[in-house]
């Protein structure tokens, strides 16, 4: 699943897959802004067929947070 998430992140944020690690921060390490994160979450919701409520989405700051959330909710 991490591989799939990595692929989506790379595509959405225009970064190379090998730059993406579990501890990467979307804003500090991967150059995302708040709009990128909204779009990324939409893409993940589509891919994994789940709804991430805004209150949960706000807590997401690293790749690990996303992987964890998907693991617990899909």
């Amino acid at each position: 699943m991490f591989e799939k998430v990595k692929k989506i992140i790379a595509e959405q944020l225009g970064v190379e897959e090998d730059e993406i690690a579990m501890e990467s921060s979307f804003i500090d390490d991967l150059g995302a802004d708040s709009l990128d994160i909204v779009e990324l979450i939409m893409a993940l919701e589509e891919e994994f067929d789940l709804e991430i409520p805004d209150s949960e989405a706000e807590k997401i700051s690293t790749v690990g947070d996303v992987v964890e959330y998907i693991k617990n909710n899909s």
Binding site: L13, G14, V15, G31, L35, V38, E39, M42, E46
Partner: protein
């Protein structure tokens, strides 16, 4: 005292080239950029041709991620701006960024983004509409993105006056420098409206040519003209206060000397009878430049190839110039570029600047059948050398907008 304003950089993205020299050579040779539409299916539309850009790669000019966050019109604007700034030789580290501004417009803005996101909204619901929908679609984003790219922190706005957009933009930017509020301005327009919905709308207006032969569809001032042909792209100019340009040793391409802007106050899409609004506009530009009509040697006409535009623009030129109308050259370069709507004025200003610099009158191509009501020298089919000192570039837009700039050979 009014400052003098000169042009020091040009950038163009069009069906006739994405490089200024390639573009100008094509214009001089009278090449036609119009072809059958390939971007979408036009089998159920009345117009079959357009001047599409087929070889544009945004990532040659913009970072991949940035390009993804821009509508095509904005990508065109950014690409043309980069070329114009490069040509100007500006050292961005040395200029006063607070006196560096932008006036860049678009007639329609991000309509392909609009169409795409409306589809998402209809199919998947509001929760799937991209957070980039609004920033990609809005017409002012090119002016914003250019400012971000080059650190232009001064005067900034987006002009939207339909097909007069980028002539108004250049005129407004010229005035900003002339009154002393900036040293350098990036100005012009961009358009990327060859999309199914936009095309359908213009077809319904019966505004576009229904001729299927790309070589005959756009025939400005010809008796058999039957509508405009849509183009796309961007035209961007770097303009500068004269002393500022001289001090840094810039290569000066031409001088902007006058600007006129009026409205017909008549009808939403039809031009006023006898082109009276356009005539008043040309007079304003000539007066603003402190010239007499006899000083003008060339007019780059709006010349859309619609029945009314070409007839009334001809009348308006006769009204303003009297006997001199027969002596000056008038051409419609839309016969080659197609009609770039909000980018048309800037692309045509670029052509006029190069015409002055190189003493060469660009032709009106596809001209075959004279129209008794259009009886000026339209430089038919073949461009030619001619010494001209002053030229006008006209743009007229839906909403009754008229804009004219006066340009002078720099020597």
């Amino acid at each position: 005292m009014k400052k003098r304003v000169v042009v020091t950089g040009l950038g163009v993205i069009s069906a006739l080239g994405t490089d200024i020299n390639e573009f100008w050579n094509a214009i001089k040779e009278g090449k036609c950029g119009i072809s059958s539409v390939t971007k979408f299916d036009v089998s159920n539309m009345t117009t079959k041709v357009a001047a599409e850009i087929k070889d544009f790669d945004a990532t040659k000019f913009i970072d991949r991620k940035e390009a993804k966050r821009m509508d095509t019109y904005c990508q065109y604007a950014m690409a043309a701006s980069k070329m114009a700034v490069e040509m100007s030789g500006l050292d961005l580290e040395k200029i006063d960024k607070d006196r560096f501004g932008v006036v860049v417009g678009s007639g329609i803005g991000g309509i392909s983004t609009f169409e795409e996101q409306l589809r998402v909204f209809m199919e998947k619901g509001p929760g799937r509409v991209s957070p980039f929908f609004i920033p990609m679609m809005i017409s002012n984003m090119a002016a914003g993105q250019i400012a971000i790219q080059f650190g232009a922190k001064g005067f900034n706005e987006c002009v939207v006056t339909a097909c007069a957009t980028s002539t108004n933009a250049i005129g407004d930017a010229f005035k900003v420098i002339q009154r002393g509020d900036a040293d350098i301005m990036i100005t012009g327009g961009a358009e990327a409206s060859i999309t199914p919905l936009s095309f359908a709308g213009f077809c319904s207006m019966k505004a576009m040519s229904t001729t299927e032969d790309p070589a005959l569809a756009c025939r400005p001032f010809d008796a058999e003209r039957n509508g405009f042909v849509m183009g796309e792209g961007a035209g961007i100019l770097v303009i500068e206060e004269l002393d500022h340009a001289i001090k840094r040793g810039a290569n000066i391409l031409a001088e902007i000397v006058g600007y006129g802007s009026t409205n017909d106050a008549y009808h939403i899409t039809a031009p006023a009878p006898e082109g009276e609004g356009g005539a008043r506009c040309m007079r304003l530009a000539i007066n603003d430049a402190g010239l007499n009509p006899e000083d003008i040697g060339y007019i780059n006409a709006h010349g859309t190839s619609t029945e009314y535009n070409d007839k009334f623009e001809t009348v308006s030129i006769k009204t303003v110039f009297g006997d001199h109308a027969k002596k000056l050259a008038v051409s419609s370069t839309k016969s080659m570029t197609g009609h770039l709507l909000g980018a048309a004025g800037a692309v045509e200003a670029i052509i006029t600047i190069l015409a002055l610099r190189d003493s060469f009158l660009p032709p009106t191509i596809n001209y075959r059948t004279p129209d008794p009501e259009c009886d000026l020298d339209y430089v038919p089919n073949q461009g030619r050398s001619a010494e001209i000192t002053y030229a006008l570039s006209n743009s007229l837009g839906f909403g009754g907008h008229n804009a004219t700039i006066a340009l002078k050979k720099y020597c």
